[in-house]
Symmetry: C3
């Protein structure tokens, strides 16, 4: 990332850091289930095969498969299998895996499109939750949707508010996911 993109990024982060996205003027419903989970993504960069939990598998013409592309990574498709933990510690015992993909999809800022599943396998939860939505990455908190579930989450739906809890260069990030289910069966 060049110095100029960095300035743009910092400016955008400043503007947006106090706001939250896509939360609007909704009625206040009460969740029927609620939980907070973290997941951890280590992107393959050609040298970290043992530790990587994700890899670039599609890229635009100007990109490649070991470095995130120019133009705010527009077009990079990343497949992941990330550990899910109950707290923000990468080394905590995982309670499941976040599996699916994210796609960087804007040329002039950092946004991603997410399609993935939480496969939960802990004493508290056995089942899956499926997530879908647009992620305006540099906004502090942003809402994506829980479109379906299985097992303990059979037919559930809801909203997940995500926050970038840590971001280290272009190799590691950690998301905090505040899941609120409003349709429970």
């Amino acid at each position: 990332m060049g110095a100029r993109s960095l300035v743009v990024l910092l400016f955008l982060m400043f503007i947006l850091s106090f706001s939250s996205a896509y939360q609007g003027k909704k009625k206040q419903y009460k969740p029927c289930k609620q939980m907070v989970l973290y997941f951890h993504d280590v992107l393959y960069n050609g040298q970290n095969a043992a530790n990587a939990t994700s890899a670039i598998v599609g890229a635009p013409q100007w990109g490649n498969l070991t470095i995130l592309a120019d133009k705010f990574h527009f077009g990079d498709v990343v497949v992941f299998d990330d550990p899910i933990t109950l707290d923000n510690n990468f080394h905590s015992k995982p309670v499941g895996r976040a599996q699916g993909m994210y796609i960087y999809d804007t040329k002039n800022t950092f946004t991603a499109w997410l399609g993935f599943t939480f496969v939960l396998n802990s004493t508290d939860f056995q089942g899956t939750l499926n997530f879908m939505g647009a992620d305006p990455i540099i906004v502090k908190t942003r809402d994506i949707t829980v479109v379906s579930g299985t097992g303990d989450f059979f037919m559930h739906r809801g909203i997940a508010t995500i926050m970038t809890d840590a971001f280290e260069g272009e190799v590691y990030f950690r998301l905090r996911v505040d899941i609120k289910l409003y349709e429970c069966w």
Copy 2:
């Protein structure tokens, strides 16, 4: 209930069963929200980097990243960030962005698989809608699904009827999206 009322009831049942059959076999539900929007896709072809709103990021072995592949583009994966407008004019002020991907997925005709989000940010709507479905492109109108939403569209679901409103070679197309939401919260 007397015999006469029973005859009247049976007669009404006969009339009603005939009329609902005439309407086709699905019930007629009334949308709780409805809107028509357009979005505009300009595909990167190696020479239009400034204007392109989408790019090929995956392709089959016989394809590449600047020209849609042979065999009805089968296997081409396109990531997009397209402006959404209230009318069919590419230059109208956008009310949001359509972000996500489409995948050409048939070898002997034009069909696509769609996974994307409308990120709406206008005076009328603040929120997102998530779309998923199969798009048999050459059919005049085709239904995909609205699986979820956030903000003003919190927990909403519905159907989107899409039409190809313009198609210019392999660089530009415009879709008309008639959104009917049947589950509103």
Copy 3:
């Protein structure tokens, strides 16, 4: 796939073959619609262009577009347009097409992430069903979700229990899909 991965795979298949994934301790709801369908996937390998119904369109740095990648195919993105049949015979008259993608997404076992649509066009059913979820391939039966539908399946939701009904090398597999819809309109 090396001999060692094969041993690991066989061991995992043994351990898991009697279990089912993600079904948990859910309440017993009764489906409002139910059906069993099969679909058939023939993966393009560089030499079967005429018969192939799917193709690798994205791969990690260590992969390519005609052979599934090492590390349990982690990162391979496959686009498909597979015939759907009422029984397990590849040559039966199709009642529709399964269209979309699967993504291998684990480095140390076989799992996939699925996003696809059943486009049904038979005397029994006219409409589409959209599927999403994590598929722990080597588990005998596993639940994914039906997130939405159109036509005869307008606004429907449910669960699909999938089983690998046949698996021939890395070219052909057949899935049995037991669809149970719990929300019908």
